[in-house]
């Protein structure tokens, strides 16, 4: 008998069953993969663009205020436009 006979006749030897596969990815696994991608991707996007979630209040001082005496230092603008404080 030669090696040729052996290779031709024995693809998978008998009594050597295949190990069972763990099966296809479950829906739960797919959800977790998607979730992980969103979290890691979202963090990367925020870190690269340096954007903030939420963040500062944004406003704009009207041109009329800026061109008036005092400009953006105008007390009346800040006084009427801001109601903060503790």
């Amino acid at each position: 008998m030669t090696d040729e006979t052996k290779s031709e006749s024995a693809a998978r030897p008998p009594d050597r069953p295949e190990m069972p596969k763990t099966g296809k990815r479950s829906i739960l696994t797919m959800i977790i993969i998607g979730f992980s991608v969103i979290v890691v991707g979202g963090y990367t996007a925020l870190a690269v663009t340096q954007r903030e979630l939420g963040g500062a209040d944004k406003d704009e001082i009207p041109g009329s205020v800026r061109s008036s005496p005092g400009g953006y230092r105008s007390y009346s603008y800040w006084h009427s436009g801001y109601h903060g404080g503790k």
Binding site: M1, T2, D3, E4, T5, K6, S7, E8, S9, A10, P13, P14, D15, R16, P17, E18, M19, P20, T22, G23, R25, S26, L28, T29, I32, I33, F35, S36, V37, V39, V40, G42, Y43, L46, A47, T49, Q50, R51, E52, G55, A56, D57, K58, D59, E60, I61, P62, G63, R66, P69, G70, Y72, R73, S74, Y75, W78, Y82, G84, G85, K86
Partner: protein, 677 residues
């Protein structure tokens, strides 16, 4: 060559020049030819009718080489089974084709091999043996035993003495290669036969003559007999291979000898199979018939843990098992000895590492149906189970034999489906089976990878961050009530004393902006509203910061709470000149210094923390689930819960459990010590 039988004078024809023995078809004497003529070796026994797809003088093919089956012998195994040995004439050599329980092994004699003494061999031992091509392979001993020649037919390439018994060792390398060492009666030099296990399809058998008149084809013909004890009908579904049968009516164990039954004795326990004998089921390897059923138990620390085994049969395939334990099912296939590498408390098969789960003596409790070995109640073996769900590899050892098998987990619904939904609610699984897959098994890897990736990204972004300071100033937060100067002609828009406007400073685009505060406070609070104003466009971004810091000494111990610092971060703004406006308050009567700093391109550890938290919640939930699932599995193991394989999830959860347990213990200790006081 034609000659006359020395016993009866009938014509005996040796068709092949290199055959030694021919069976006289008239008087069934074994006629041997020598250089001195012919002589008889004695009368051979009648052949036992066995189902076989092999036939005398059938042509076959192994790879590119053809052969003819010119002779055969029936051999009774020391344990009782009958196997057939066929002699295959190739163009320049002889092959030995062994046929046992639907398996075929074609081997060839290897001359001049140095072989170990039979007394030095034991099942599971590794032996280096030469092959046909002169190379050396490692084989594992699967069985050491004896066998006796029974019926013979055709022409034989060696001197076969009727009724002679020989000793042998069977070996396998797990790659399909097979070896037998024939030790004869142990007084002769042993002979090595090496070859491979084949399928019927590999052999391409065609033509030939029936071995004996009336012999049957391999059609799995069943045989209906009467129980010699109670006369109840017993159907033998594999009459030519079964050695034992148990009568379901009178519960007697019967010996099966060439299809004939004889009473051995009454079984002490009656077996009741939920899946009746004769039921056909379709599994991964095709349709199989339930031919036997037994209840066995694993004896662990004085307790018996029973499990059921259904013996399945398919003529072209041989035997398989369907095992049920605690309501969990496994489909069991045999594995060639040598295919599994055992390393201490682990084994490796097909590149997969399996962990030792259990070692226990196994005992046959009750039997029903027919079996291919001489089963008896109370029969003992020793089992080792290795797991890597959904697979479990079992090793069963007796004194002179070692068997390995692959057990694949099956859901109850799949078992019911295999039997065509004839049986509803076959069982209700209890606990976690050794080879039951964790339903969340696919979750751990992506979660762990994502967690690690996040940490790596955090480290990378942190090390790449190079914050630059755009503005820095220390101002005073006035104490008391803020004062607003009077409006005058020269100062039409006065700035209150608690408001500060900076000089313009430059901010670049594409980088975040951090505004940080540090107030020097002593049992005081401060609150700042900060706005940066783009002097060109008038765009305003406003944040605020709150700080409070209190400290003191109570009962001789100093304490402090709060923080003097605050910070907030704004996303990237348009490039240009900006002014910082601060509107400040504090609770003290004296001025409080406030350091303010505007930086760009700062690392946002908070966002990383949130991302880790968001990912950490499912990580922890699934980790706890996996941890408890594995703990339930390994609690039933002889290795104990600590034997469970470690994963990132289970390590994290185990750490949490240890920390929480430690806290509980400390709290308990405190509670006990205070109650003692």
């Amino acid at each position: 060559m034609k000659t006359a039988c020395p016993n009866c004078g009938a014509d005996v024809e040796f068709r092949y020049d290199d055959s030694f023995v021919r069976i006289c078809t008239y008087c069934r004497n074994a006629v041997q030819r020598t250089d001195r003529g012919v002589e008889t070796l004695g009368k051979v026994a009648d052949l036992v009718p066995l189902d076989s797809p092999l036939r005398l003088f059938a042509d076959g093919q192994l790879g590119s080489q053809s052969f003819i089956l010119v002779g055969m012998a029936q051999v009774r195994h020391g344990a009782g089974g009958i196997t057939q040995e066929w002699y295959a004439k190739f163009s320049d050599s002889w092959g030995w084709l062994a046929e046992a329980q639907g398996r075929y092994y074609m081997t060839f004699e290897v001359e001049g091999a140095k072989l170990p003494d039979i007394d030095t061999l034991s099942p599971g031992e590794k032996v280096e043996l030469p092959t046909m091509l002169g190379a050396t392979r490692t084989f594992t001993v699967s069985e050491i035993g004896t066998a006796t020649y029974m019926g013979v037919n055709g022409e034989l390439p060696f001197k076969l003495v009727p009724d002679s018994t020989y000793h042998f060792a069977d070996l396998s390398d797990g790659e399909g290669n097979f070896a037998t060492i024939d030790y004869g009666d142990t007084s002769e030099e042993p002979t090595l036969y090496v070859g491979q296990q084949c399928t019927l399809a590999d052999l391409q058998i065609r033509g030939g003559e029936p071995v004996m008149p009336g012999s049957r084809d391999a059609t799995g013909t069943s045989k209906r007999l009467a129980c010699p004890n109670c006369n109840a009908p017993i159907e033998l579904r594999v009459p030519d291979q079964s050695l034992r049968a148990a009568c379901g009516h009178c519960n007697h164990l019967l010996d099966v000898n060439a299809g004939a039954l004889a009473v051995i004795g009454k079984l002490s326990h009656k077996a009741t199979a939920r899946i009746p004998l004769g039921t056909k089921g379709t599994f991964a390897e095709g349709e199989m018939t339930v031919v036997g059923y037994m209840v066995r138990d694993a004896q662990i620390e004085g307790t018996d843990y029973p499990f059921e085994e259904y013996l399945l049969y398919k003529p072209e395939l041989g035997y398989r098992w369907l095992v049920q334990s605690d309501g969990h099912w496994s489909y069991v296939q045999p594995i060639a000895v040598g295919a599994v590498e055992q390393l201490g408390d682990e084994c490796r098969y097909e590149g997969v590492k399996l962990k030792l789960f259990q070692t226990a003596p196994l005992r046959v409790y009750s039997v029903l149906g027919e079996f291919y070995w001489k089963v008896q109640a109370g029969e003992q073996s020793f089992g080792n189970d290795f797991v890597a769900p959904p697979a479990m590899i079992s090793k069963e050892s007796t004194g002179n034999e070692e068997n390995w098998s692959l057990c694949t987990y099956m859901k109850v619904a799949d078992v019911e489906k295999a039997f065509g939904d004839k049986f509803q609610s076959l069982s209700t699984p209890v606990g976690v089976a050794p080879n039951q897959p964790d339903p969340t098994r696919g979750v751990a890897t992506p979660l762990t990878l994502a967690f690690v990736l996040l940490l790596v990204l955090g480290i990378v972004f942190s090390s790449l961050a190079s914050p630059t300071t755009a503005y820095e100033k220390t101002v005073a937060i006035p104490g008391g009530v803020p004062v607003t100067p009077e409006v005058t002609a020269t100062n039409p828009d006065p700035v209150p004393s608690n408001v500060f406007f900076s000089e313009p400073f430059q901010l670049v685009s594409g980088k975040n902006v951090e505004i940080g505060f540090h107030a020097s406070l002593s049992n005081n609070w401060a609150y700042v509203v900060a706005s940066i104003v783009n002097t060109a466009t008038g765009e305003v971004y406003t944040i605020d910061g709150s700080m409070e810091y209190y400290s003191g000494i109570d009962d001789g111990e100093s304490w402090s709470e709060g923080s003097e610092v605050a910070r907030d971060v704004i996303g990237p703004v348009a490039e240009g000149a900006y002014v910082l406006r601060l509107e400040m308050q504090q609770g003290g009567g004296m001025d409080a210094p406030l350091a303010v700093r505007v930086r760009q391109g700062v690392f946002r550890g908070g966002i990383l923390g949130w991302a880790l938290l968001v990912l950490g919640i499912p990580f922890l939930i699934f980790g706890i689930y996996t941890y408890t699932f594995e703990r339930r599995r390994w609690t039933n193991s002889s290795e104990g819960p600590s034997g469970a394989p470690k994963t990132a999830l289970t390590i994290v959860v185990a750490a949490v459990v240890v920390v929480l347990s430690g806290i509980v213990l400390i709290l308990k200790a405190f509670a006990e010590s205070s109650s003692d006081d």
